[in-house]
Amino acid sequence: MDERYELNKNLAQMLKGGVIMDVTTAEEALIAQEAGAVAVMALERVPADIRKQGGVARMSDPKIIKAIKKAVTIPVMAKVRIGHIAEAQIIEALGIDYIDESEVLTPADETHHINKYLFKIPFVCGARNLGEALRRIGEGAAMIRTKGEAGTGNVVEAVRHMRTIMSEIRVLKDLPKEELMNAAKNMGAPYELVVKTAEDGKLPVVNFAAGGIATPADAALMMLLGSEGVFVGSGIFKSQNPKKMAKAIVLATAHFNNPEIVAEVSEGLGEAMKGLEISEIASENILSTRGW
């Protein structure tokens, strides 16, 4: 189990500095790969459409996931509902590379997340703060992403969550060891992982940004805040020119420290996805509060 978990964390390390794109068809998957995505997330509907159409959002049809897997050589991920053990087993049986236990889908369990150690396939999970991130890692997540607020094209929540996690790590790093148990109690996180995070000054797994990233500048911003890569959901295929937007976000992520390049790739992209103001979303439609 330990060796498998290490291998799964290792795959996330290979994705660092890259962009993971939501795709709904084999054609979109090829566009993503051609643009330089490090992985694709196979979905039936992108988050913006899930938000618009409402209803219960479930795991995608395995047929769609298999078609996408067949189309590309880069890793393929797929989402399952929080706590939905059977959906996770189905996705694992499809032989793809990563599961996202995601708040973007309607949770199957409001109290318990999946025990990810029971699986061979790696999991990525969302988090809004350090305690949540360490709880998911405690359950076996091999990678973390900020939740942000998916399907809004509004980066403000991703920024909030990344800033929160990074700042909580900085605080932890400066605590004397005898204060770490109290910190673990206060954030509801496993003590061993709190100690490890304090010692390393970083999360024990790779940490990406997700939820509302819609432009090359958004991607660069998340990297500047300490993210190790980005997930872009609706931002690409809901923009006016997906090919160009996809390529621009890849370049902005790889060269986030180089404003000239980010400026250059931001030119003439056409319209980005139409964004949503978070305060105008009814509280029952906020996705990031799903899971705990």
């Binding site: 060796e3 291998l7 290792n10 390390q13 290979m14 660092k16 490090v38 880069i74 890849v250």
Partner: protein
């Protein structure tokens, strides 16, 4: 001081930098642009996604600068994705990237993440002890030609090769604590510096 560059767009960059920083007489440096290449005497192409890195090296002209230095005998080492970037042939595909090493490589040869694995192997040229090997959605070398030397096989599959100044491994020494391959490559760079 031997200055060794790590292609720093994406993937296991920090891991390679950390390994290099532990070697005496080596100064590690991240490289992204053609002008960075002049300052180093060897380059590591890290693990990551080869399609992504293959595109990024083209965008700002690094590919030609790298190719020129490699053909003029600068030591280069590709791990996993880096091996794919070096190959003159990718099995079943029309594209190549740096196109400098006489090997045909099969992408994701072992399968997907569920097929990732670890092993260990004696590689006498590189170390006197068994080296731990980590394979992540790894390629293998399907065939070699020219003066390529096969350094290691696992279950009959070629997983480490060298052709003069060019070194390629299917696996990721940067994900282990074993310094053998990094020391070996640093030795190649130091020797090239002396000549």
């Amino acid at each position: 001081m031997a200055s060794i560059g790590v292609l720093a767009y994406q993937g296991s960059v920090a891991e390679h930098m950390k390994m290099l920083s532990r070697i005496e007489g080596v100064s590690p440096r991240e490289i992204r642009f053609p002008e960075d290449i002049g300052a180093v005497s060897g380059v590591i192409l890290p693990g990551g996604e080869s399609t992504t890195m293959g595109k990024l090296i083209k965008d700002y002209g690094l590919i030609d600068a790298l190719k020129e230095r490699i053909t003029k005998s600068m030591p280069v080492w590709g791990t996993c994705a880096g091996m794919i970037l070096l190959a003159k042939e990718i099995t079943g595909e029309d594209i190549t990237y740096l196109n400098v090493m006489d090997i045909a490589v099969r992408r994701n040869a072992y399968g997907g993440q569920l097929d990732s694995f670890t092993a260990d192997c004696n590689i006498p040229e590189v170390s006197s002890h068994k080296i731990p090997l980590v394979f992540i959605r790894a390629p293998w070398v399907e065939k070699t030609w020219g003066n390529v030397k096969i350094l290691a096989r696992i279950d009959g599959r070629i997983i480490a090769v060298q052709q003069g100044n060019i070194l390629a491994t299917s696996f990721h020494p940067e994900l282990t604590e074993d310094m053998s391959f990094h020391n070996y490559f640093a030795g190649m760079v130091k020797q090239a510096d002396m000549q």
